[in-house]
Subunit: 338 residues, 2 copies
């Protein structure tokens, strides 16, 4: 079958690779219907995360169950399913508390930019639709698999809600979907921090009430000016750099909440600055599984359309072009169809 491998910096290839097989009785094999390129795939693609051996790429997926292991009882062959990038048993104490990405049996799902995919802990990880979904909602269901779930977690961690002013640092797909999430959670005012006109437009479409173009200290000053000098109640950080983390902290009012979902690279948070900021912090790999039933429901009822972040769609065989377009920021997010 076709699969996408990263060999090294900016060296991604679609090749003929072995089709995955059941390894554990809790596994399922999916025929991938759609996958995509994640912002976090760009870290190794750009050589920032080292690549020591060819690495199967992709961790966002929707598909049809092809085969299940003997211990799988909730998921059945033929079902259309959405999963997330961490497989989880969804029954342990950590899962029960809503942190499935840190399940005591958590294991990463990889190699989704391919024709077939093995998903461990299928019963805990996958959520099936009642019937095969219409073609037009496939991109949005795919978004639920990571980028929407991650933006949603960011907004939830930031305690976005009625009466709150929410600021979002980062205008990638996750940041844009954090704007959508904050709107769905009833936020009164949503400030998207973005310097790119096309992304500002999508942010407005997703519910942003204000745009702040400035970054760093100027961005913090602009958010403070919009919030009576106090800062936002809720801030979502969706980049993962030192500058974006400090920008997020600076935008949060004392006692406010910051959710950070950009995977940190080279970040060191100064303890004293954080202490005197006196804000709530919560971040980490999003427990997408917690949100999947609700998000899939909103999508299937056509109440939200997160699939709009896919501004490029290519056949799997052209994955190389998808990476290039993401890397050069010519597209917000690229969808791949096997």
């Amino acid at each position: 079958m076709l699969g996408t491998l990263l060999y090294g910096e900016r060296d991604v290839r679609v090749e003929d690779v072995p089709r995955p097989v059941l390894q554990e009785p809790t596994d399922a094999i999916l025929r991938v219907v759609a996958a995509c390129v994640c912002g976090s795939d760009l870290w190794p693609y750009r050589g920032i995360d080292p690549v020591r051996r060819p690495r199967p790429m992709g961790h966002e997926y929707v598909g049809v169950v092809e085969e299940t292991g003997a211990a799988v009882s909730l998921i059945r062959p033929g079902q259309f399913v959405v999963g997330s990038f961490f497989a989880s048993d969804n029954t342990c104490e950590i899962c029960a508390a809503g942190y499935q990405s840190r399940c005591v049996h958590a294991v990463g799902v990889g190699g989704a930019q391919a024709e077939y995919l093995r998903v461990p802990l299928a019963d805990g990880t996958l959520v099936a639709t009642a019937e095969p979904p219409d073609a037009d909602v496939i991109p949005s269901l795919l978004a639920a698999s990571d980028v929407l779930g991650t933006g949603w977690f960011g907004a939830a961690a930031a305690e976005a809600g009625p009466g709150k002013t929410v600021a979002v640092v980062g205008d990638g797909a996750v940041g844009l979907l954090a704007v959508l999430a904050a709107g769905q959670m009833g936020a009164e005012r949503i400030i998207a921090m973005s310097g790119h006109p096309d992304r500002q437009e999508l942010a407005r479409e997703f519910g942003a009430t204000d745009i702040v173009r400035e970054r760093g200290d100027d961005g913090v000053a602009a958010v403070r000016e919009l919030t009576g000098g106090l800062g936002a109640h809720s801030v979502v950080e969706a980049v993962g750099t030192q500058a974006s983390m400090l920008q997020g902290i600076g935008c949060t009012r004392p006692g406010g909440h910051m959710g950070y979902v950009g995977v940190p690279h080279g970040v060191q948070l100064p303890g004293e600055q954080l202490f005197f900021a006196e804000i709530h912090l919560l971040g980490g790999p999003a427990p997408v599984r917690r949100f999947l039933p609700e998000l899939m429901g909103l999508i299937l009822q056509r109440k939200i359309d997160p699939g709009k972040v896919f501004t490029l769609e290519l056949p799997l065989g052209e994955a190389v072009d998808a990476y290039r377009a993401m890397d050069e920021r010519r597209t917000i997010k690229a969808l791949l169809r096997p």
Copy 2:
């Protein structure tokens, strides 16, 4: 009047200094009934925080109102009052949300190790008792002014409560009172991390169910072993060093809460480690004013006795000995009587 000044490293003196006078119409002048030496006073005393000019010391106090400014209406001369180390208006949006230590008009209160003290924003900062308290509760009311309020905030920030396992890093007075706070909040199990027998004993008296003597990675391993490998639901960090912060983070289960109230010194939190720990963090200077009415009530009803942390009591004139005893860890906390 007598007042305590820090001139430089380990050079603290009690001297004749000018008696404070009203400077703003919102001020009050107190006759100090009791003050004390704070663990945070030891940072400049030990030369870790630089001292550039003689610094009036002390920020924990109970006293009797001597005089009030023209704009003070809630607090009256003759009342016995407890205050906190940050003066706050207690009316702004940040105060209303419970973060009085970050009040938009917040200003530090200093020079409490003296016979008289000026307290800014008296109406917002001070809480009066209905009648003069009995002598035996003075130490506990003094503790409410900072060290109990800070331990309480740590436990509240860690979301200590029924069904929770709480671990406390640090066996200074704040850590010990975080143990007491966790017990009052209904925690099921309270792990005090302490290597000192006298402090372990007080921790048990305050409600600790388990003692962990190990520190660092060994301490983390011990807490994990006590919690089925998962870590504590709630952790209070009450030291402020890199090692204690990482110990606290390591002891917290995914999705759990850490409250950190030790003033950080040289702390840099590694972003990636924090991200994958996936814990809630809240810390900062404790908004003691939020808790004062409740804490004073518990003390006056003799339901808690936080004054037990004062294992040394000296006249103000012997403050030098109080600093020495704290520095050499010969006492948990030293009370001073003008």
